[in-house]
């Protein structure tokens, strides 16, 4: 697998990609010419669930793709580290470690969970069911659009599994 750099002119040969990241997690593409300032880019995962660490689209401020990284392993060490740091932010979802309570109210379901980032309560539509991801993990989307990822059912504690029984096939 190669790292493809898409440049404005399709006739131009793909070139090596050099990336850096600042302390705030902002990713930059460093152009070949030394005088060119680094171009800030945002990272989008093409397959956030099935192949989260591969096929990464780098997009400029106008949301135009300027590079597609098929496999970060092919990047140099510092670029790869920069991608991994940016990936940590772009691919961040709240990782649920324990479900504490699930209550049903009029037209919404109220969840109280513990996440790796702290405790959180959120709401889902009554007809919104957890989605089973390719790796067997579960993904829940709340009414605001936030995503909550749970480990595969067998990795969860007994109470969480009991609470989830109605919502997923355990």
């Amino acid at each position: 697998m190669t790292t493809l750099v898409i440049s404005e002119s399709s006739d131009e040969a793909p070139s090596a990609l050099s990336l850096e990241v600042d302390e705030n997690g902002q990713l930059f593409v460093v152009e070949n010419a030394a005088d060119d300032p680094p171009v800030p880019v945002r990272l989008r995962q093409c397959f956030p669930w099935s192949e989260p660490h591969r096929h990464l689209s780098l997009r400029d401020a106008s949301d135009r793709e300027i590079a597609l990284v098929d496999d970060p392993a092919e990047l140099d060490d510092s670029s790869r580290a920069a991608v991994e740091r940016a990936l940590g932010i772009a691919g961040f979802v709240l990782e649920v470690t324990r479900v504490v309570e699930i209550d049903e109210e009029v037209e919404i379901r109220q969840w109280l969970v513990e996440t790796a980032s702290g405790s959180r309560s959120f709401q889902t539509h009554l007809d919104e069911w957890p989605r089973v991801l390719p790796g067997g993990e579960l993904l829940i989307r709340d009414v605001a659009g936030d995503l909550y990822k749970l480990g595969a059912p067998q990795t969860l504690d007994r109470k969480t599994r009991d609470l989830l029984w109605a919502f997923v096939d355990l």
Partner: protein
């Protein structure tokens, strides 16, 4: 209400803490905070609490330091050169950028939940960076969007902070408010039930009769077992023992039997009265709710319909009111009388024989709890079954409408297998539900029968003369009373569920009734008789959410009879302009004037009678062609309808329909092509004879020949009226008196076709040339 939602559901501050607000304002040279948002992720992506606040001259970020103390950092807004929002799956990053090459001035991270509040700040800062100020309009926008009562209650000194609180709360609570049926007063179950019961007040007489009849049924139900005991102890046994003369015994027995017959007769009469009155009463209440609901829905503004799904509103008027009928007709009485019956039975049993009475009554709370527990457990299984059922319907709703794609890609077998697997799965789940209840109820009845056996076991020795005396008659009465225990226990066990279901429906109904129309007439509105057709926009701004402006200071003056073409890129604000002309919304800044009168002071109903609309996707109601054309003028003469249809180039194809103008069209009716439906909608507008006509992409979705026919019809329709026409095909607007180019909410260019083509680098010229290249 938004602050209540945040406190109750979200678990984050419902507003910026007062003390922190004061500190931020102090750090910002004493300027009031205009907007703020909570950043709920820190730099390590842990959940936390930082606040970004905006004042007239500063942006401030408040974060806690390691000791938990708030640290406020304010930066001058003049330093901001650009803003950059980087969206992630759940974490968004907003960076305020200074000079190119310099590190960001501020960086904050937050989840989707906070995005609305940050969008507001970003919008205002973006506008400022681009040399446009919106904060003054923003204050006006928010005030215009608020109900008059809250505006009147505001004190000048507190207006700005309160407005910032409201904008923040509205942005954070909005997803929940849109998802849930929320009602006034916090929606406590008891208050919702009492509010529902108030609908019974107009039917006090029927309610009193129904309740009295139900009370009679309950009381009379207690009599037959007592009579049975009396007959055995006072008539049968004395007669058998020779203590009572056979003739006297027979006489007494017949009186008792006749009394029992009379009791049953009266009981069934009372049952008839109860069922009749309560069923009818429930129907009246459901009718009243439906009527009030539908009338209210008709008065609500378009913004409400954009928040709620059509299917959900239809369900509220139909299924929810039906469920409330069931609750009022039977639930209210069943629950209250079951309580009375259970207490009464317990009292009677304990009075008859306290020892046996205790055996029967002590398990009752446990039995009620078991039924409740079973209901909850079954509910969980039903949720699981419902989820699996939705997987089945997903396949159906995917593949039936998409059957051509399935066949084109030869995927029939795969879809059959997908459906089969899910069908098996849901069947298994429903069978599990059946296993649960078919196990539970026999076991419950076994428990009831066990208590009966216990009663026998305790009673038999006493009947045979051991222990405390017990007569055969009392025992028979007792046994008969015990058979009456099961039904009220069952009702009470399911009481929570019955009330929950009714409350849910009541919530959905009351939510609609509690929604206020955003467009309302003033106390003494002006009637424009007739509308001349002069339309003026005076520095009009508009924001659907009160903050992000879709229109930004649009000013124009259109004289009666002008044909105005509205052109420009999608999302620029063209449809919003015509929505304001039709007064579907009120502007948040400036004024829309019709014949010089501010549209907010005009009688809306009377005004709308004089405007007409032809939309891109014309809607035909279920009914005949005649009814559809004469929708706004049901009394129109047939000749006028035909004339309108001819003007709309529709008469010819209507006559070719088998039933002519009497052909039923619309949903479930005769299928018409897009062009035919469009011409019927034009005929509707012709007949309506509006002074102001709005054409919203009226010819965009038809073929060239149909477009020619529609264009011909439109040319006849627009004569002598003020017309606003939105069109992407610029060639259709060549005859326009003037063209308004709307881009990014502003009137970017205006003039005739030729004038605008002459503008070097003009937007219209660019759009026109692009379209020529595509031809």
């Amino acid at each position: 209400m938004d602050q209540e939602i945040i406190t109750r559901y979200i678990g984050q501050p419902a507003r910026l803490p007062r003390e922190l607000r004061a500190r931020i304002e102090h750090a910002c040279s004493g300027n009031s905070i205009q907007l703020y948002a909570l950043a709920d992720l820190d730099h390590t992506l842990r959940l936390g609490e930082s606040w970004l606040a905006l004042t007239a001259a500063h942006v401030a970020l408040a974060r806690r330091d390691d000791g938990g103390e708030w640290r406020v950092r304010a930066i001058d807004r003049a330093q901001i050169r650009a803003l950059q929002e980087t969206p992630g799956l759940s974490a968004h990053t907003l960076s305020l950028l200074g000079e190119p090459g310099d590190p960001p001035l501020l960086v904050v991270r937050y989840t989707h939940r906070q995005r609305g509040a940050f969008e507001n700040i970003r919008f205002v800062l973006d506008e400022a960076v681009n040399g446009r100020s919106v904060i003054d309009d923003l204050g006006a926008s928010r005030r215009a969007a608020e109900p008059p009562s809250s505006r009147a209650a505001e004190q000048p000194s507190t207006r700005a902070p309160d407005a910032a609180d409201r904008v923040y709360a509205a942005a954070v609570a909005r997803p929940i408010r849109d998802a849930q049926a929320l009602v006034a007063g916090g929606g406590r179950q008891s208050s919702v039930i009492f509010r529902l019961l108030r609908y019974l007040l107009p039917y006090r007489r029927e309610l009193a009769l129904g309740l009295a009849a139900a009370a009679v049924i309950t009381l009379l139900s207690l009599a037959p077992p007592y009579i049975a005991g009396f007959l055995i102890d006072r008539v049968v046994r004395p007669a058998q023992d020779g203590a009572l003369a056979r003739g006297t015994a027979a006489h007494m027995a017949w009186i008792a039997i006749a009394g029992m017959a009379a009791l049953y007769l009266v009981r069934q009469l009372a049952a008839h009265i109860r069922l009749r009155y309560m069923a009818v009463l429930g129907e009246y209440v459901a009718r009243d709710l439906r009527a009030e609901l539908y009338e209210h829905i008709q008065r609500l503004s378009l913004s409400f319909f954009s928040r709620k799904k059509t299917g959900s509103l239809i369900t509220r008027v139909t299924a929810d009111t039906d469920r409330l009928w069931e609750f009022i007709a039977f639930g209210v009485v069943d629950v209250s009388l079951s309580l009375v019956m259970l207490v009464g039975l317990g009292g009677v049993l304990l009075t008859l024989d306290w020892r046996l009475g205790l055996i029967m009554t002590l398990p009752v709370p446990l039995l009620c709890w078991l039924i409740y527990w079973h209901g909850e457990s079954l509910n969980t299984s039903f949720i699981r079954a419902w989820r699996k059922w939705s997987r089945v319907t997903d396949v159906l709703s995917d593949t039936i409408p998409g059957i051509r794609v399935v066949k084109a890609f030869n995927q029939e077998q795969r879809e059959i297998e997908r459906f089969g697997e899910r069908n098996e799965d849901v069947t298994e789940q429903f069978n599990e539900v059946h296993r649960k209840w078919t196990t539970f109820w026999p076991l419950l009845m076994l428990a009831v029968h066990t208590t009966t056996v216990l009663v026998w076991a305790m009673a038999v020795p006493r009947l045979l003369g051991h222990g405390a005396a017990l007569s055969a008659g009392v025992f028979v009465s007792f046994l008969l009373y015990t058979t009456m225990f099961v039904a009220p226990i069952e009702v009470i066990g399911q009481m929570a569920r019955t009330i929950n279901r009714a409350t849910s429906s009541a919530h959905r109904v009351f939510e609609v009734l509690d929604s206020e129309p955003e467009v309302r007439d003033v106390a003494e509105p002006v009637r424009l008789e007739p509308v001349q057709g002069r339309v003026s926009f005076d520095n009009v701004t508009f924001a659907y959410d009160g903050v992000r402006q879709i229109l930004r200071g649009i000013t124009f003056d259109v004289v009666p009879g002008e044909l105005i073409g509205l052109v420009g890129p999608s999302g620029g604000g063209k449809s919003t302009v015509v929505n304001l002309i039709a007064r579907f919304y009120d502007p948040t800044g400036g004024a829309v004037r019709i014949d010089g009168a501010d549209l907010r002071h005009v009688d809306t109903g009377h005004y709308r009678e004089q405007i007409g609309m032809v939309l891109q996707d014309p809607y035909l109601f279920h009914g005949t062609v005649l009814e559809n054309i004469s929708y706004a003028m049901p009394q129109a003469a047939s000749g006028a309808v035909i004339a309108a249809a001819k003007a709309a180039n529709a008469h010819d194809f209507i006559c070719k329909l088998a039933q002519g103008y009497d052909t039923v069209v619309g949903e479930r009716g005769h299928t018409l092509s897009g062009g035919e439906r469009q011409r019927i909608s034009i005929a509707r507008a012709v007949l309506h004879d509006p002074r102001i006509l709005i054409l919203d992409e009226a010819t965009s979705s038809v073929d060239t020949e149909t477009e020619r026919q529609i264009q011909e019809a439109l040319d006849r329709l627009i004569a002598g009226r003020t017309v606003f026409a939105i069109a992407h095909r610029l060639s259709t607007l060549r005859r326009a008196s003037r063209l308004f180019v709307i881009e990014k909410g502003r009137l970017a260019e205006s003039g005739t076709h030729q004038q605008l083509l002459a503008v070097d680098g003009g937007i219209y010229r660019r759009l026109y040339e692009l379209q020529l290249q595509l031809v």
